[in-house]
Subunit: 490 residues, 2 copies
């Protein structure tokens, strides 16, 4: 077997281990009884270690060198080799003891967070979170040395390959300049009308509505399912997608939008090329591109008037809600200054991300200590959003990302929103009748468009090239801001 | 770290991999969408291979030799070392290529079986099953050479350590002599009254009844759950037991008895000593002992009049069934000559096992070809049970065990029934008021008895010693036959 084939076989096995972990993670969130937590931690830890061992096996380094000296001619194989090297670099740049220490510290911090957040106990959370950041900084330093970049860039690279902080800073600059004033202007014009509450919307009926929209979007239920978890996510593997949502019996819009969002992720996974299953080149391009798929459906489609026109009778049938399209639209596009990122609308969401992006850089650079985070949080929220939390529960303890060391991830949310806006704009520019399809609930052609331009491309090209090829222009905030201005100030 | 500690760490990791496999198996049977089958096969295959690699690592052999040269003083650690060696021998006696070939052939045969059985197509099933037996024979031969025993003994040893065919033959001899005539005598006396059918028993109500008996038996729902699958089983890991059952809406007794049965398995797993979690000595003693726990509850307790006396009002409340204890007892202890093992009652069940035990030995010895199995099956069924199948679907294709090469397993069912009878008898002999507890539904003391004598002992002693210690006498058919005669001819 030649070196490339050896690599292909090795990465296939690593991918199978990751697939097993993904299903076990889903099970942990949706099925596992409480008492199973310790055993599950042991199972996931063993799989993680074995995957790491497979990746850091010295033979892999040799195979990579040999294959790169005589690269395959096929475009996809060549890209596969590039992505193998990328994954290998991340795994091999760091001492195993640090990876293991972070896994342990991250689990502990997550546990502390679970109990400390509800009672707003920053004091007991702070040492665990500080320990996690200390390890993250060590890991970032080792990766930075190996990659020849800044420590924070090395962290971002796990989620947005090839996209450093300087580049993100540049594409975020127009948002930083415009979002705070845009929020003021939007709130000066509209009378907020939030999701309908106070009714009683049985979970089974909400689920039926969700399944209806999933079906319209083209989700393949032979290769996926929808369940309930306290934190919605889309997990599993491409041929076995595990989506979750959560329902509130007094309000239907949040779960509905959540299902549309996760289905966007699910369609991306299901649309990845079967030919390249279990190979690095066959994986989703980046977290930002992934988020572009969920946000395209949630923001660009499901909050649009044409879509709500299609949705109206279904909401009436399934939930007994009689509302005009205008009512639905006002509820779906309500804007308010809120403290919680995951509850934010599309106008205020970037403010949350811009602040976290700023704080992350300081935390990684050592310019900000975790102990000083509550104060920095209040200052940042005030500056970007004009509100500040009274409690740390609604402040710096609101998110779970940092607890297990997922630092460098937050920018992906807003990169995704930007890409989503460019995708919608590109469809309209190319005479693709997005609004007509949405109004008829005829979403299959929309999925087919995304399948061709994004899903089927997997990781064959770099993110920037993928965006240019799909949307006709490089990544920038312009289209996203234009979309927000048109929808909220138009 | 000394050799024993190295081993302990290694077997812990292997156990975690097996735990992950167990949860993924459960998921496959209860949650996974159809399209996920191939990915799941890949995940399970990767975990299996990695586990095998961990076990066949040459360092493990060295550690075993070193540790055995200077064995630990602690009884449990010494037993742990013995069980490590036992597992190691099974993994290392066979070439990896054979293990992998059997995994592939077994999966294929299982798939063929799934489609061939319903249409009674022995012709298309025969080559795959023959391939599986050919591989099983090769594996048995390699193990036999390594262990210095017969090939069939080597297979049995996977399920019943230390229990060869000669020993089983000896303890089965009284059954072979008595079961056929016992069946005749029982059927000559009783008018069969099968499970009640024709009613409508909503699944939710049946489940409520099942949860009620599980709770009474002391199943810990913080460390386990009950779901639905087409083939009921008890899987998962000790702190996360995954039980399944299947419901028929026209009959409640089969699912109820099935739940009691699987709960017996579940209690054993949950009762294994937490101190020895993830170590070989902390695992269940054998398949026969495992089956003794399910059959103790299903046969000795749940088919007894005192238990049915407790159950009667619950059946009335949950299912609206008004029946006398006598009616319930006649239904629960109905005997008939049936073709299907899994539907058999406790009087005819041993006949199925005795025949399979005979056929397995001939298949492994090469004295019987798979092609000749249908004829041998009809002959055997006639001899042991007095009925023969018209179709292979109800004959040699009825079970799934042989499709993936689980040869040597069938005797464990009847060994379990024998141990269960001895356990019940030992309780009564020791003035433990089994019937009184059953009549009050006060089952916690019963579980505590089993916990002390069986569950908490895990694999610290060999099966024979465990049985003698728990029941006061060596394994024999006498108590089991006495139980059958008392219940069915008394």
């Amino acid at each position: 077997m030649n070196a490339y084939d050896q690599l292909s076989q090795r990465f296939d096995k690593i991918s199978q281990l990751q697939g097993a972990q993904a299903v076990l993670h889903w099970d942990m969130q949706t099925q596992m009884p409480r008492g199973g937590a310790e055993a599950r931690g042991g199972q996931l830890g063993a799989l993680e270690t074995l995957g790491h061992d497979l990746m850091t096996d010295p033979r892999v380094a040799d195979w990579l060198d040999t294959a790169e000296a005589n690269p395959p001619e096929n475009l996809w194989e060549r890209a596969n080799l590039r992505e193998m090297r990328r994954q290998w670099r991340h795994a091999n740049a760091v001492e195993s003891r640090l990876v293991e220490a972070l896994a342990v510290a991250g689990t502990r911090c997550g546990q502390v967070w679970q109990t400390a957040r509800p009672v707003n106990d920053f004091k007991s959370y702070e040492p665990s979170q500080a320990e996690v950041f200390a390890l993250v900084r060590e890991i970032a330093a080792q990766k930075a040395a190996a990659f020849g970049c800044s420590p924070y860039d090395a962290l971002i690279d796990q989620f947005e390959p090839g996209m450093g902080a300087a580049r993100i800073d540049e594409v975020f600059a127009p948002l930083r300049a415009r979002i705070p004033t845009l929020i003021d202007e939007v709130l000066g014009r509209t009378s907020p009308l939030g999701p309908q509450t106070g009714g009683i919307f049985p979970i089974e009926r909400q689920k039926a509505l969700g399944l209806r929209v999933m079906t319209a979007m083209g989700f393949d239920f032979d290769r996926g399912r929808l369940d309930i978890s306290s934190h919605p996510f889309c997990g599993g593997v491409p041929d076995d997608v595990r989506m979750t949502t959560r329902y509130r019996s007094d309000s239907w819009l949040p779960a509905f939008q959540g299902i549309v969002h996760e289905t966007g992720h699910g369609l991306y996974e299901q649309g990845l090329p079967a030919k390249w299953r279990h190979q690095p080149v066959g994986e989703a391009r980046s977290m930002g591109v992934h988020e572009s798929q969920s946000l395209f459906w949630e923001m660009q489609v499901a909050r649009s008037k044409p879509f709500l026109q299609w949705l109206r009778p279904h909401v009436a049938t399934e939930l007994g809600v009689e509302a005009t399209v205008e009512d639905l639209y006002r509820r779906a596009t309500a804007v308010k200054r809120g403290l919680i990122r995951v509850d934010a609308d599309e106008v205020t969401y970037p403010a949350h991300v811009l602040m976290r992006f700023e704080l992350e850089q300081k935390l990684v650079a050592g310019e900000l200590r975790v102990a000083d985070l509550p104060e920095a949080w209040r200052e940042g929220m005030t500056r970007y959003l004009g509100v500040a939390p009274d409690t740390d529960r609604d402040g710096c303890m609101q998110d779970i990302h940092w607890t297990d060391g997922a630092v460098g991830y937050f920018p992906s949310y807003t990169l995704g929103a930007m890409i989503a806006a460019q995708l919608a704009s590109a469809m309209r520019d190319s005479d693709f009748d997005l609004d007509g399809h949405a109004a008829r609930g005829d979403l299959e052609p929309v999925r087919a468009w995304l399948l061709e331009k994004i899903h089927a491309q997997a990781s064959v090209v770099e993110t920037d090239d993928l965006i240019v090829a799909a949307t006709g222009r490089p990544l920038s905030a312009a289209t996203y801001l234009a979309h927000l201005e048109a929808r909220y100030l138009g």
